[in-house]
């Protein structure tokens, strides 16, 4: 079971990323749990410098931008 965490608190890009990931997972029926992390201290632990952050299975895959759908899918499949 892949876990995805979206790190961000309230800015529009964070909401966009969250919606995009949820939609990708639903549309492709992927075995993925998606969690949005809004607590500042929690977000800090991942060491990112800009939000939104995309964490897949514990590894930070991107920060500060909304990656393209194909890229997100590729990361999920990689595991």
């Amino acid at each position: 079971m892949t876990t995805i965490k979206i790190l961000g608190s309230g800015c529009s890009k964070c909401k966009t990323l969250n919606a995009k990931v949820l939609e990708l997972v639903a549309r492709n029926n992927l075995p993925v749990t998606v969690e949005k992390v809004e607590d500042l201290m929690e977000i800090m632990k991942y060491g990112i410098l800009s939000t939104p952050g995309l964490v897949i299975n514990g590894k930070v895959k991107s920060a500060g931008a909304v990656p393209k759908d194909e890229q997100i899918l590729a990361w999920i499949i990689e595991g």
């Binding site: 961000g8 608190s9 309230g10 800015c11 890009k13 964070c14 500042l40 201290m41 977000i43 800090m44 632990k45 991942y46 060491g47 990112i48 410098l49 800009s50 939000t51 930070v60 920060a63 500060g64």
Partner: protein
């Protein structure tokens, strides 16, 4: 990739064609098509609007595209690496310069602040970055260039940089680390070693295009509104109306403008056309520049966000030092011009 380059070249040619024929097109539209009388205030206002809107939007699109590509070479992570180990003065200078080119959104202010501070970058250097980044943004510079010419844009940028460098330096010297919330220094995070993926130039073009979509898409309405207000003032407000309030002789106009500007927050797009109108009606350059800097650079929402990581005294000192810097710049330019 070839297709993309051709597309970009074509678009740029179209841009040049449009931009350098704006006056002619506006003349045609206002005088021949709309048949407005040359001397009426309505004509003045309409001409201003019809001319400025496409001009500003064209400039904005071009610059945002170019800056978007430049920004693809920078990231907060790279900036942090570059600033690591720099001592106070050199660090302030570098941080301020990097603040201009590093992609920054105000919602990332806190993660960025935390990340910088925790990786050992001095507080003063971090502040230089945080002051320069929001204040000197490409939208502001483009608008200033488009509406007032390159000298004003350059002026704004250099004084903004100076304020960022000096304020950050002073904050660093005052040793204000004790006013940062303790938990910030308590959490020791090993910086994420980002795998720097090589971005092809083709992707950079995409990033430029995305930036245009995002930024122009966000501000075009504000620009329209701002220019509309500017057009109204341009056409209808008497010549020296603002002179008494914001003109040179009113010595108190600079500090008052800055004070009014602090709680106000607007993006650059909306405020600059209004600023132009004020200038035309007799407000002096220094007062207006000071007002603009304090609206864009010192925002109440941002300080509220920073409250989470900084204690109140530091926030006040921060606003005070930057505010004073802006006031000094304001007086300087009132004096010079």
């Amino acid at each position: 990739m070839k297709k993309k380059v051709i597309a970009v070249a074509l678009m740029f040619s179209a841009w040049l064609l449009l931009y350098f024929n704006l006056e002619r097109c506006t003349d045609l539209f206002v005088y021949s098509i709309l048949r407005l009388h040359k001397e009426s205030p309505l004509t003045s206002a309409v001409y201003f609007f019809i001319y400025e809107v496409p001009k500003v939007l064209l400039l904005l699109t071009l610059i945002v595209f170019v800056v978007g590509i430049i920004r693809s070479y920078f990231s907060p992570e790279r900036t942090r690496k570059m600033l690591g180990g720099k001592k106070l003065f050199a660090g302030n200078v570098l941080a301020s310069l990097l603040g201009i080119v590093t992609p920054f959104c105000s919602c990332s202010a806190i993660p960025l602040f935390l990340g910088f501070v925790e990786s050992g970058i001095p507080l003063g250097v971090t502040f230089s970055f945080l002051i320069a980044a929001p204040m000197i943004n490409e939208v502001a510079l483009v608008l200033l260039f488009g509406l007032f010419g390159w000298q004003t844009a350059l002026l704004y940028m250099s004084t903004g940089l100076l304020i960022a460098m000096v304020s950050g330096y002073i904050i660093g010297r005052l040793r204000l680390e004790r006013f940062v919330e303790e938990w910030v220094y308590a959490v020791k995070v090993s910086p994420v070693e980002f795998v720097e993926e090589k971005i092809s130039f083709s992707s950079r073009i995409d990033l430029g295009r995305d930036a245009v979509k995002e930024i122009v898409g966000k501000v075009w309405l504000y620009i329209l509104a701002g220019i509309a207000v500017g057009a109204g003032v341009h056409g209808y407000v008497p010549e020296n109306f603002m002179a008494s309030l914001m003109g040179k002789s009113a010595w108190w106009s600079v500090p008052v403008s800055v004070l009014i500007g602090i709680p106000m927050y607007s993006n650059a797009a909306g405020i600059i056309p209004i600023v132009q109108a004020l200038l035309e009606k007799g407000a002096s350059l220094g007062t207006v520049l000071a007002f603009m800097m304090s609206v864009i650079g010192l925002s109440l929402p941002e300080t509220i966000i920073l409250k989470k990581v900084l204690k109140l005294p530091l926030i006040f000192i921060f606003v005070g030092i930057v505010g004073t810097g802006i006031i000094i710049v304001g007086y300087l330019f009132n004096f010079l011009y």
